[in-house]
Amino acid sequence: MTSIESTDVLIIGSGFGGAIPAYHLAAGGARVTVLERGPWLRGEEFDHDFLLGSSYTRIFDFVVGDGMSVLGGNCVGGGSVVYFATMPRAPRFVFERRGSIGRRMWPTSISRDALEPWYDRVAEALPITRQTWDKIPYAGGLFAAACQHAGRTANPAPSAVDVEMCTNCNWMMAGCRFDAKRSLLLNYLPAALAHGAEIRPLHEVQRISHNADGGYRVHYRIVDGEDYRILHDEGAIDAKLVIVAAGAGATPVILQRSEPELGTMPHAVGRYFSGNGERLNTAVFDEDRVRDVLGLSRPDGRAYEAYQIGRGPTVASWDRLDGSLPEFERYSLEQLYFPPGLGTILAQAPDASGPTWFGVDKKEMLRRWQSWLTIFIMSEDDNEGVFGAPPETGNAHRFSQQMLGHGPLSYRPTENTRRGWALADADIKDILERDGLSRVEPWTNDLVGAYTVHPLASCRIGDDPATSALDDRHELRGHPGIFVTDGSAVPGALTVNPAFTIAALAERAVPAIVRAAQERGVSVSYGAPSPDGSTSGRRAVLAR
C-alpha cells in the first residue's frame, strides 16, 4: 500500500503562480510542498543545443490542440525559465474589458490602480527594470527604426533580464546558463526553500480528492526523467489547502479529472481559454534598404543580418494600446526572436509561387534567415478556447520523448479575434514594407491552428459565477480551500506579455490564501519581505 504523506499547503506547479505563494506561505510558517511535473535544472545545465534531449526539449512543452497549440514551461520555475522575461504592466483599458459576456470580465475589486502595488512587489523581487536604447539588440533597433520611419512610436520594453550579465545569445528558451534572466530559480524559489518549502520535480499531479477532515488529497505519478511518455510510481499527499498553478494548459485538466471525486466543477473550468490574441508575422529585410532608408549599420559594416543576436523581444510598439479604440481592435506589436525548428516551420515565404511554408520558395527564404524580423501580435481574442475530456494522464498525450504532445483544447477564432489579427497584420505590413524595406507574411494557422506562448483564462477570476471559475480571491467556486493562482486565473487577453500580471495577481492572492490557511488551523502569517530581504514592496501593500 502506498503511504500517504501530509503537509499544510500543497502547491501544484512551480511557475509564477506556484513559486510566489510557496515563498510567502513558507516564510509565514506553513509547511509547503510543491509538486512540479518537469525536471529541475540550474545554471550550466541549460544547454546551447537543439539536440533532442538537451534542456531545450526537457524544460519546454508544445501541446498541439484542435485549432490552438500551446507552448509552455515544463520544469521547476515553470514559464519563468523558458520565457523571454519581457515584463510590461497591462494597460489600464484591459481591466475594463467586457469580451463577449456583456459585463466587465475582471472582478470589480481589480483595476490597474488596484494592482500597481502588487506589480511593484514583483518588480522588486525579480527584479524588473526599464531598458535603455544603448543595450537594445540589433533586431529591436531595426523594428524601432522602421516604426519611427512609419511615424509610429516604439519602446524598449521593461525586462527581468540583467543586461550587464546577458551575452545576447538568444538561447533563453532553453533556459539561461548565465543567470542573466531573472527566473524564479533566482528569487522566490530559493527563498521558499530557505524557509523550509519542499519542491519535488518530475511529480505530475493527476487529480485531487476530498478528505473527511475538509482537506484534500493530491494524487501524483512520477515522470521518467528522460522519457516523459513513461510514468512510474504513484503517490498521494494530504493537505489542508491546495493551490493549483499548473499553467492554463494543465490546471483545468487536473480539475476536470478530479470532478468525479470532488463534485461538480464551476462551468468556467476549462472554458474561456484565451491565447492572449497571439499571432506572428515574419519579415525578410532587404539589407540595402535597411542601410539606405533607415541609415542603420553595424560596426562590421553589415546593415542588419542579426536575427540570431539578442534576448528575445526587446522593443514594442504600443500605438494601438489606445483605450478609446473599440474592443478587439487594440493590440501591441513586439519584435521577437524565435529559434529555428519551431520558429521557422510556420513562417510563410513572401511572394511564393507555390506552397508558402515548405518547398523551393521556403528554402530561399531560409537562406536569408539572418535578415528575418519576427513581429509578435498580442491582441484581444474572444476567450474561444474549450477543453474537451481530459487525457488519461497529464494534460496531453505525449508523442515525443519530450516536448511534443497532443492535448484536448479546441479553439475556433471568432470574427472579433480575426478582425484584430487582420488589423494588426495590415499594420505590420504598413510599417515594415514601407519604401521597400522588407516583405512580410503572417505565420500560417493551417498546420497547428493558432498558437500561443501565453495561455490564459481557462479557470478565471470574476464576479459572475456563470462565467468565472474563481472568486476575486482566487478560490475555486464551490470548493473551499482550493485556490488557482496561475495564468488560468487571468480573465482574458492582456494585449501585452502576461507574466508580470500573472505574478502580480499571485502576489495579490496571497493574503487571502494565508487567511484561509489560518482558518484551517495552519500556523501561518503574512508579511514576508521580498525574497532578497527588500521591504519597500511589503510596506506598500501592508499600508493598504
Binding site: K362, K363, L366
Partner: protein, 189 residues
C-alpha cells in the same frame, strides 16, 4: 547518406527522403539519386539528416514510419491515377512522382481539411527541424561538421567553448520616439 546505408528497408528510406526533399529541397547527392529531385542548389532536408532524425525513437514518429510510408505510397498511386500519370515501377510510387506532383500531393495531405493532416504535418515538422536546427546532432558539432541546413540559414558559430556570446549586439542609440503615455516604470499607461 546513401539510401542503402540505412538498416531499414531501402525503399522505405527512399520514400522518407523524397518526402523530406519535398519539404526542404536539395541538390542530388550522386548521379541517379532518385529520392532527391535536385530542384534546389545546396543540401536540403535529406542531406541535413532528416531520415536519421525521423528514425530517432525520441521523436515519436519512428514506430509509425512503416505505416506512414505505406500510406504515402497509396496516396501517390491514387494521385497518379487521378492525374493520369504513369509511374516508374522500379521505385516506390511516391519516389516516382515528379517534384511538382510530390509538392501538390504534400500540400493536399497537410491541408487544413485533410483527415490525416496531423501525421503528415508531423513528418514535415521533423523534416524541417533536421534542416534548420539539426535536432539529431549537437548543434556546435553539427556546425563544425558543416551541417548544410545550419550553414544555409547562416547560423553563427559559437565561441571556442561551444557557447554563443555576441559582444557586438546593438546599434547603441535611440531609434524611435517613445509612446507619449509611457509610465515611469517603462510600461504602457
Amino acid at each position: 547518406m546513401r539510401p542503402n546505408d540505412s538498416e531499414h528497408d531501402p525503399e522505405r528510406t527512399l520514400v522518407l527522403e523524397a518526402f523530406a526533399d519535398t519539404i526542404i529541397p536539395g541538390e542530388k547527392r550522386f548521379p541517379g539519386d532518385r529520392s532527391v529531385a535536385g530542384v534546389s542548389a545546396g543540401g536540403g532536408a535529406v542531406a541535413a539528416g532528416a531520415v536519421e532524425l525521423l528514425e530517432n525513437p525520441a521523436g515519436g514518429l519512428a514506430e509509425g514510419l512503416d505505416s506512414l510510408v505505406f500510406s504515402l505510397n497509396d496516396h501517390a498511386r491514387e494521385y497518379a491515377v487521378a492525374h493520369d500519370l504513369e509511374l516508374d515501377p522500379t521505385v516506390p510510387p511516391f519516389v516516382a512522382l515528379p517534384f511538382d506532383h510530390r509538392t501538390a500531393l504534400v500540400a493536399d495531405l497537410t491541408g487544413p481539411d485533410h483527415p490525416e493532416k496531423q501525421m503528415w504535418v508531423g513528418l514535415a515538422l521533423f523534416s524541417n527541424m533536421a534542416f534548420d536546427s539539426a535536432a539529431h546532432l549537437r548543434t556546435s558539432e553539427a556546425l563544425t561538421a558543416g551541417h548544410p541546413g545550419l550553414l544555409t540559414i547562416g547560423y553563427e558559430q559559437p565561441q571556442a567553448d561551444g557557447i554563443w556570446r555576441f559582444e557586438s549586439f546593438s546599434y547603441g542609440r535611440q531609434l524611435a520616439d517613445l509612446h507619449p503615455d509611457t509610465t515611469a516604470t517603462g510600461s504602457p499607461a
